[in-house]
């Protein structure tokens, strides 16, 4: 792990990159990284996340500034701008059931060829997917989802990159930290090694590439 200034962290992300971004309605989203991507004018991004939050909040800022070419999310109901851009054909939106989305990300991070889920069988979600029967029950084969970058919001990071999360700001964060080529973390607090006891570590340090310092 290396600590890295915010501007430099965002500069590592090229136009057209795929990003997994932590957060649930903006809670647990690394807001400063989103702001910096907007400021640096990044575009044509693919965003994989739970939702697109609201205009002006978290991932919603990237939507407002039209930086997102494609969103793979479970919910856009709280962001009218996402819906408008989707209906106007300006943004591609792939809607995935929330439990399936997190499992597809987990499958990539855990080295699996996919997951078999009963969710979506017999609905529009099954279109184009393989159905597999196991012990008399039908499942959909859902394929792994990986990304170029994971943008993670942590509560604590130590100087090795061991992470903890807080309350409901955990959500997608520890899972996306397994599934991206490069993992960039913003932590509320950076603490000395040893401050986070081994049993409290939620994401082990070797998974983390960069921890952002300074805002």
């Amino acid at each position: 792990m290396r600590t890295i200034p915010l501007a430099e962290a965002a500069a590592r992300i090229p136009d057209g990159a795929s990003l997994m971004i932590g957060g649930f309605m903006g809670v647990g989203t690394p807001e400063c990284l989103v702001d910096e991507l907007c400021r640096q004018g990044r575009r044509d991004l693919t965003v994989i996340a739970n939702d697109t939050a609201r205009p002006g909040v978290g991932i919603g800022k990237l939507v407002t500034e039209r930086r997102v070419r494609k969103a793979i999310v479970s919910h856009i109901g709280t962001n009218p701008q996402t819906q408008a851009q989707m209906l106007a054909g300006e943004m591609e939106v792939e809607l995935v059931p929330q439990g399936t989305l997190i499992e597809r990300i987990r499958a990539a991070g855990f080295g699996l060829g996919g997951v078999l889920t009963p969710t979506g069988v017999g609905t529009v979600v099954e279109e184009g997917k393989r159905k597999i029967e196991v012990e008399g029950r039908e499942f959909l084969l859902e394929t792994p989802l990986r990304a170029d970058f994971a943008l993670v919001q942590a509560f604590l990071s130590d100087y090795l990159g061991n992470l903890t999360y807080v309350l409901t700001a955990r959500n997608f964060n520890p899972v996306i930290a397994m599934a991206a080529e490069t993992v960039i973390v913003h932590a509320e607090h950076i603490v000395p090694v040893g401050m986070i006891s081994p049993d409290q570590v939620m994401t082990p340090a070797p998974l983390v590439d960069y921890v952002v310092t300074g805002e």
């Binding site: 649930f24 809670v27 059931p97 929330q98 439990g99 069988v121 309350l167």
Partner: protein
């Protein structure tokens, strides 16, 4: 008593001590206000919380403690938090005992549509498909009709949420279950006749000899 209170109160009677319960947004959320005395249930919020409590008073909210709608909530002593994979493992894995969800349509066999109106409203399914597919018992809380049109229909013309039939539908008029895949009237609301319910329902309703009135 207004329609929402009738629905929430009746559903609260389905709660049992020790249950793990997930409440959807809207009328389902109101069920938490009517938990019978002496019963303790755990409420799950799918963004990663068991032990959801009432919203703390202003000034004591915590920005990183929210419900599935992103609004601040409280957490009771004994609450736990976890990531989204765990949260949906709880849901899909059958560890959640009961979910209460809103509905747009329910068909004669009990299959629910509640996540989109093509061309009009495409919010995304969020956690609804996983909840209906995986939770042990599914209750739909909804108004009996929408804009004068029945919501309990022969066939849903809106996209289904899951093939798994729901267990119970509770409206301001009636309680309906689906034994052997057939919509069956179990109870009527106070002051509502069986023929009132039939008139407001498109699906064929099975009528047991005795249809009691909801005890609220």
């Amino acid at each position: 008593m207004d329609a929402q209170t009738v629905i929430a109160r009746r559903i609260a009677q389905e709660l049992r001590d020790g249950m793990l319960v997930n409440l959807g947004i809207g009328i389902p959320t109101l069920v938490a206000n009517h938990v019978p005395a002496g019963i303790h249930v755990f409420f799950q919020s799918e963004n990663g919380l068991i032990g959801t409590g009432a919203l703390p008073e202003e000034g004591l909210t915590q920005a990183r403690l929210t419900d599935a709608g992103g609004r601040p909530v409280g957490a009771l002593p004994g609450a736990s938090t976890f990531d989204s994979a765990m949260s949906f493992g709880l849901i899909r894995g059958g560890h959640v005992d009961l979910t209460v969800l809103g509905g747009l349509q329910v068909d004669a066999r009990g299959r629910l549509a509640n996540w989109m109106v093509p061309g009009k409203m495409v919010p995304g399914m969020g956690g609804a498909m996983d909840l209906v597919t995986g939770v042990r018992r599914v209750i739909v809380a909804m108004q009996h009709m929408a804009k004068g049109r029945p919501k309990i229909v022969r066939e849903c013309n809106l996209p289904l949420t899951s093939m798994r039939p729901v267990d119970l539908v509770v409206t301001e008029l009636a309680v309906i279950a689906f034994p052997q895949g057939r919509a069956t009237l179990l109870e009527t609301a106070p002051g509502v006749s069986v023929s009132d319910v039939r008139a407001a329902t498109e699906a064929d309703l099975q009528m047991p000899d005795d249809v009691p009135v909801m005890k609220l």
